[in-house]
């Protein structure tokens, strides 16, 4: 049986997690393939929660399927679509299903997704969701009412080491730790020197930090993210490296870069592991792990 994520965090191993996106619709064939492909190669599989404000299969059901297939699920929960009632209800439901690892996020704004006219909730944000997790564990809900059976979770959150300005980000990072975060999966990092500086600062905290590795599938994607995605910065050298090969070989180059970064992080002990986001290209994650020397 796979180790619980909490135990993995304690093990001192180089931790590898990967993200799987649930489908928009009832056809879960491809999602199951990705889970089958990854479940024995990574320590945990994140199931995204209506990622980018695009309506999909719920992260809770996705995590249940990971569990059924023998993987270790990491339940992503944002405060965008559910108020504190629904979030707490889903948290105790997750616990009943044996899903014990949760990643607490604020959530992208509704207007970024495919239901722009929906009412955004934001009753709780990431720090308050972490607090809600810890409150439920104490045997009470956020209303102060006793629970008939308390859940137990391994709780995590997100940090953006490339945020500019960084000070407000770090203030929130420290609040997340005080609210009970045990691990962090970072927004994508490409500048490992900068990530090392972040880790030097973060070393004083008793939390595990997994560097976010977003697979570059093309040079265009790198440029697009630099222009449009908050907190992601792909250095020029990497953009040029992607451009140095023909378009049809750029995915392969991206795999090589991702694998190389993971290898460097592991060899130089920068951080405690990686979180791989191969948005839409989950099938190539094993190849990335091979390049990284982890398979």
């Amino acid at each position: 049986m796979a180790a619980s994520f909490k135990d993995t965090l304690k093990s001192g191993e180089f931790i590898v997690t990967a993200e799987v996106g649930p489908p928009k619709g009832t056809d879960i064939g491809e999602m199951k393939q990705h889970i089958e492909l990854l479940k024995d190669k990574v320590h945990g599989i994140n199931m995204t929660d209506n990622q980018s404000s695009v309506m999909r299969l719920s992260s809770l059901v996705g995590c249940h399927i990971i569990k059924e297939l023998g993987g270790v699920p990491i339940l992503q929960m944002t405060g965008r679509d559910r108020n504190r009632m629904a979030l707490q209800s889903d948290l105790i439901s997750a616990a009943v299903l044996g899903i014990d690892t949760v990643l607490c996020l604020t959530g992208d704004h509704m207007t970024l997704g495919d239901h722009k006219d929906a009412k955004p909730v934001h009753d709780l944000e990431s720090v308050q969701i972490l607090k809600a997790v810890r409150t439920l564990e104490s045997g009470k809900d956020l209303g102060g009412n006793p629970l008939k059976g308390a859940p137990s979770f391994c709780a995590g959150a997100v940090v953006t080491p490339e945020a500019d300005p960084i000070a407000p980000q770090l203030l929130k990072f420290e609040k997340k730790i005080r609210a009970g975060a045990e691990f962090f999966q970072t927004q994508a990092v490409y500048d490992l020197d900068n990530f090392k500086r972040f880790m030097d600062y973060a070393a004083k905290f008793e939390v595990k930090i997994l560097a976010g590795i977003v697979l570059l599938v093309s040079a265009g994607m790198a440029k697009f993210m630099n222009k449009n995605v908050a907190g992601i910065f792909v250095p020029d050298a990497l953009v040029r490296e992607m451009e140095s090969v023909a378009k049809k070989e750029q995915l392969q180059k991206g795999i090589e870069i991702a694998g190389r970064m993971i290898r460097t992080l592991k060899e130089q002990s920068i951080g405690h592991g990686v979180h791989i986001m191969a948005i839409g290209k989950e099938a190539v994650i094993p190849e990335i792990l091979q390049v990284a020397g982890l398979l």
Binding site: R80, R84, L105, T106, G107, D108, H109, T111, L112, P120, H122, D123, L124, E125, S126, V127, Q128, K131, L142, V158, T160, A163, D164, P165, A167, P168, Q169, L171, K172, E174, K175, R178, A179, Q187, A230, G231
Partner: protein, 221 residues
């Protein structure tokens, strides 16, 4: 103040289809300042409507007046008699004014002439920005006079979300990130400790809708 914008002319005209005697009632308080429903705008709309109906060959009567405050009964009583002769009254006040008018003139048809948008301020002439959500639980003392509930698109309380970028908001790159502003101003004030604490979830129970309040002196009346 309350900021509103006038409904599009075609929408107002379409609402008035079939009426022969129309009164347009302006409000000379907030909606006057934001140039949506004050005396001037009422005159403009009335003229536009008269010309347009005339062009269509219809002889609709359009009359107009503006009161000091449509959300206040005392001011409204000054015009109520006058309104009785009309089939429909277009209120150019905010939603509160429209509703008091409808209460006072029941069962007369009252129509809204503006869309009420927000409580805001005027950073420069002709520009208005939302600055208060009337949440009923003000935190401005801790957040350097910048409201996270209003200025942050998500209204969150414990610092910036992951969508902030170079001090801008993920929803609109032209808008500032409230938490970047709050952090910067508190830093200047030497009061960053204000926001190091974890703000608990908001108490939405303190203000169910519709909110109401009674001044101490008037209690029991």
């Amino acid at each position: 103040m309350i900021v509103a914008e006038r409904k599009p002319f075609d929408e107002i005209k379409a609402m008035l289809a079939g009426y022969g005697k129309v009164f347009i009632l302006g409000c000379d308080t907030c909606v006057s300042v934001c140039m949506a429903g004050g005396r001037k705008e009422v005159g403009l709309l009335a003229s536009q409507l008269r010309m347009s109906f005339k062009k269509d060959g219809s002889d609709v009567v359009i009359d107009e007046d503006t009161v000091e405050r449509q959300c206040n009964k005392e001011y409204m009583e000054l015009v109520l008699n006058k309104l009785k002769d009309y089939q429909v009254v277009v209120s150019m006040a905010c939603g509160a004014g429209v509703q008091l008018l409808a209460d006072l003139t029941e069962p007369q048809q009252v129509l809204p002439g503006v869309n009420t948008r927000f409580i805001g301020m005027t950073p420069k002439d002709g520009n208005w920005v939302e600055r208060c959500r009337a949440c009923g639980d003000c935190v401005l003392g801790e957040t350097a006079g910048i409201c996270p509930i209003t200025v942050c698109a998500k209204g969150i309380l414990n610092g910036p979300c992951g969508g902030t970028d170079h001090g801008k908001c993920e929803v609109d790159k032209d808008k500032d990130c409230a938490w970047t502003l709050i952090h910067a101003r508190l830093d200047k004030m030497g009061k960053l400790d204000n926001i190091k604490k974890i703000f608990p979830p908001r108490k939405h129970g303190v203000k169910t809708h519709p909110a109401s309040q009674v001044h101490e002196v008037y209690k029991g009346e």
